[in-house]
């Protein structure tokens, strides 16, 4: 890649190391759920910058619109009403790709170069290499990638990798009117979160915390939550997510093991032939049958 900011750390279905000499700063987007007002400006900015326009849906009786992520809606505000300590809380979460350090989508993807993890931490789908199998959907612990009806390719938030590559913040962060979405180096975002958490705890949110789940090696999209002990309150944000053990088995050690086993059976057969020789009809038996035939002819 021409730009250092687009240096690749991991590439799907590739077994050799990517270029790794240069050191790139890890970036992160921090979504402070506690200051989000649910205006959906981020959704609009995402559509505009990425040139995706979803079909106009219908109202499902909630504020959510659209109601779910799709190949054309890479980010969606999710709204949940809960009662905490005798008062109503409206928990709003901007859902989308979490840009895991250990991405389940990339682990599962069989197409070389269809999923890329940049050295800065962004996980990006390169649709020109995507074969449309949907293994990324199977691998993702956050239920994020979506297959498009038009072209059967998988799409999701790119963290505006094209903007980040040239030193810009993602469109959603740029547009957020309350500053609930911030963007910078991962270290810097952790510091911002830490300051905010001091504030939140002082205001009585004792369980406030940063959502940067270690099960997926941390994420490059992090949330500040008032109830970090119960992330599932935020429209089922997974508590302690990790790549499913079934995906790890399937796309982990089963791969080389099965490949070696098959090679073993094939080579074993070859060497069996070489050492034991072919299994032919014995000369004795052939002579015996020939004699039988001759006798029958004589009769």
């Amino acid at each position: 890649m021409a730009l250092q900011s687009l240096d690749i750390a991991r590439r799907s279905a590739t077994t050799t190391p990517p270029p790794g000499v240069r050191e790139t700063t890890e970036v992160a987007k921090l979504i402070d759920v506690t200051t989000c007002v649910g205006c959906k400006a981020c959704q609009v900015a995402c559509m505009e910058w990425n040139d995706v326009r979803d079909e106009v849906g219908s109202c499902a009786g909630t504020f959510a619109n659209p109601t779910d992520l799709s190949a054309k809606s890479w980010t969606v505000m999710r709204y949940n009403e809960v009662e905490e300590g005798g008062k109503l809380e409206w928990l709003i979460r901007k859902d989308g790709c979490m840009h895991c350090s250990d991405p389940g989508c990339l682990k599962a993807c069989p197409a070389p170069g269809a999923i890329i993890q940049y050295a800065n931490g962004i996980v990006d789908f390169h649709q020109e290499n995507c074969i449309g199998c949907g293994y990324c959907v199977t691998g993702c612990p956050f239920n994020v990638p979506r297959l498009a009806k038009e072209d059967s390719k998988a799409y999701k938030c790119s963290l505006c990798s094209d903007r980040v590559a040239v030193g810009q913040a993602p469109a959603c962060a740029k547009v957020c009117p309350t500053g609930a979405i911030q963007f910078g180096s991962k270290e810097q975002m952790k510091d911002v979160a830490a300051k905010r958490l001091v504030d939140l705890k002082a205001r009585g949110f004792a369980k406030a915390g940063l959502y940067d789940p270690p099960g997926v090696g941390g994420t490059h999209v992090m949330y500040v939550l008032h109830h970090a002990d119960r992330p599932e309150l935020y429209s089922k944000l997974p508590n302690d997510p990790s790549i499913s053990p079934m995906v790890s088995l399937w796309k982990g050690f089963a791969k080389p093991l099965a490949t070696l086993a098959l090679a073993g059976v094939a080579l074993g057969s070859l060497f069996h032939y070489v050492t034991k020789g072919p299994n032919e009809v014995s000369k004795e038996l052939e002579d015996e049958l020939e004699k039988e035939t001759e006798e029958e002819m004589r009769q």
Binding site: A13, T14, T15, P110, A111, P112, N129, I131, G132, C133, G134, Y135, V137, T138, N143, L147, S152, S244, M246, V247, L249, W250, A254, K255, P256, A258, T259, A261, L262, V265, A266, S269, H272, Y273, K276, G277, P278, N279, E280, V281, S282, L285, E286, L289, T293
Partner: protein
């Protein structure tokens, strides 16, 4: 064409055609499926016109193989019922592997090993067909845990089936005079008497 009037008919033309429909599907499925399993095999997608075509074709070939396998299963299932003689044969399979099958118990049309192969393949095809449907995202969108489980089963059953087919093909190559049974349907009397004496006596009356 009859090569030798003394030869014995082992497979009818329709049995052979059925077998080869399954066989061709299996080869194409194996090549395309391995490509999705391990990156080392991804270049095999070029045989199908690229990764996208391999992904599109694989499940349809799978449906064709499953259906043609069911037809073959119905044809051969009663011939593959296990008998005590088969168990005895299997317990002494080492002698067969050694290439010395003269003292093994008399075998009918199929020996214990072939019968085991038949049932193991049937289980594999069943598992592959069911788990394959779970993974077929073009038409099915099922709960992700089910798809994950299906993916593990599909890969495991496929690896086992490929290994079994290696053994199946190798056994046919190793035991001389076998492959012609699947090309033109006949085997020599010597072949039948040595490897399947029970069947030989049954068809010749000797």
């Amino acid at each position: 064409m009859i090569r030798n009037p003394k030869d014995l008919q082992r497979y009818t033309a329709s049995e052979r055609a059925n077998h080869w429909v399954v066989g061709i599907c299996f080869i194409l499925l194996g090549l395309s499926g391995l490509a999705f399993f391990h990156p080392a095999f991804f270049p095999l997608t070029q045989l199908f016109g690229g990764g996208v075509w391999a992904r599109i074709l694989h499940p349809f070939l799978g449906v064709l193989m499953a259906l043609s396998f069911v037809a073959m299963f119905c044809r051969f299932k009663s011939l593959n019922a296990m008998t005590p003689a088969d168990k005895e044969w299997l317990s002494r399979i080492g002698e067969m592997v050694d290439g010395d099958d003269h003292n093994l118990p008399e075998q009918g049309k199929y020996n214990g090993g072939q019968k085991m192969m038949f049932w193991a393949l049937a289980v594999c095809v069943l598992l592959l067909a069911v788990s394959g449907v779970l993974m077929w995202r073009a038409y099915f969108n099922l709960p992700v845990d089910l798809v994950r489980f299906g993916s593990v089963i599909h890969a495991a059953a496929a690896a086992v089936m490929i290994a079994l087919i290696f053994v199946h093909v190798y056994a046919a190559i190793w035991v001389k005079g076998t492959i012609r049974a699947m090309w033109y349907g006949t085997v020599t009397r010597g072949w039948a008497k040595q490897h399947h004496r029970g069947w030989y006596r049954q068809v010749t009356g000797k």
